[in-house]
């Protein structure tokens, strides 16, 4: 019952996010606005207990949710193969650069002025 109510809360906030995104023409997608709204709503214990179960379930299986899009990527492989090796080099190298810069910067910031 609580899981079902939790799902209803998530869907309601997602809908609210979609509506706000459209109405105010914000550059953020509906679910992201929904996430910010939920962060505010979690101060109420009634929301906490209901969201906890369903959030843990959904986030525990987050990787499953990317499979349908991923299969679509495979069917689009012609697009990638067209530009071949160069494209693969760009994707791999820039991902490493992004990971390294973020991790090193955050670690340095956390160590420099420890609270």
């Amino acid at each position: 019952m609580q899981a079902l109510q939790g799902l209803a809360i998530l869907l309601t906030l997602q809908s609210a996010g979609e509506a706000l995104s459209r109405l105010l023409q914000l550059p953020y997608p509906g679910p992201v606005i929904g996430m910010v709204l939920l962060l505010g709503a979690l101060r109420w214990q009634a929301v906490q207990v209901r969201v906890q179960t369903v959030a843990s379930f959904l986030l525990g299986h987050l990787s499953l949710l990317f499979v349908p899009v991923g299969v679509g990527v495979i069917t689009q492989f012609g697009l990638v193969a067209e530009h071949g090796l160069r494209l693969l080099v760009v994707i791999v190298v820039s991902t490493w650069v992004g990971l390294a810069v973020t991790a090193v910067v955050l670690r340095r910031l956390m160590k420099s002025t420890a609270p």
């Binding site: 953020y28 509906g30 069917t75 990971l99």
Partner: protein, 241 residues
């Protein structure tokens, strides 16, 4: 034999097929991943995609037919993004204390990923619309498609790049962090998780969640921050050129 073929044609044309195949293949891939001690190369998303892609190709099933069923799983990405507020709420004290640091790391990391992708693609002589589609590749696929559309890239290409980026991050993050000397203490998990969420969005965050709950929570924070940072900065920077 014709009976079997007829049955197959019937089953393959109902949404049941795509949904069932996705769930069963993923559970098998997950069991394999667990058996392999959660080794990065055994990533369940990667092997599920390869197995299902091969299956569709071998049976001559069109992607829209498969997606008619798989969309029920795909749809849950929306509520899952909303649910990311939960791990953030649990760590709200740290979030409040280090807000500025997280923002700096998200902006610098996101900018480094986008700039290196665009710069390298330009140097290697890739066509302009491909270069532009590479800019939002660190952001989760649905958002990347929207950004690419805005700056003159190709939306479907941007989704492909985003998924490949997520897989590269999930597969090679562990080795890269070890090489950089990022430890496995509290600060180390924070840096690892936050970096995966920033540079490899949801697929990276999913890997972080499987490895360590703290890393997963920081990855969720970074993923949310990166959506905001990228949708603000990429169209702005692209406008200067």
């Amino acid at each position: 034999m014709t009976d079997f073929v007829q049955l197959w044609v019937y089953l393959a044309s109902t949404p049941l097929f795509g949904l069932n195949a996705t769930l069963v293949v993923y559970l098998l891939a997950l069991a394999f991943y667990t058996r392999m001690g959660q080794a990065p190369w055994a990533n369940p998303v990667l092997w599920s995609i390869l197995a299902l892609g091969t299956g569709l190709w071998a049976t001559g099933t069109a992607y829209p037919t498969y997606f008619a069923g798989a969309q029920f799983i795909h749809f849950l990405l929306g509520p899952a993004v909303v649910a990311l507020a939960w791990p953030l709420w649990e760590r709200r004290a740290a979030l409040r204390a280090h807000w500025g640091r997280f923002t700096v790391a998200a902006v610098l990391g996101g900018a480094a990923a986008a700039a290196s992708a665009v710069g390298l693609a330009w140097v290697l002589g890739l066509p302009a619309e491909v270069v532009l589609s590479l800019a939002p590749k660190s952001v989760t696929a649905p958002v990347a498609m929207g950004i690419a559309d805005k700056v003159g890239g190709i939306a479907s290409l941007a989704a492909v790049f985003a998924v490949l980026t997520g897989l590269v991050g999930a597969l090679s993050g562990k080795a890269l962090f070890a090489l950089l000397g990022i430890g496995q203490d509290a600060t180390g998990w924070m840096a690892r998780g936050f970096a995966l969420g920033t540079a490899a969005h949801g697929i990276g965050a999913a890997r972080a969640l499987q490895v360590h709950p703290d890393a997963g929570a920081w990855a969720a924070l970074a993923l949310g921050l990166q959506v905001v940072v990228a949708s603000l900065l990429i169209p702005l920077v692209a406008g200067w050129f």
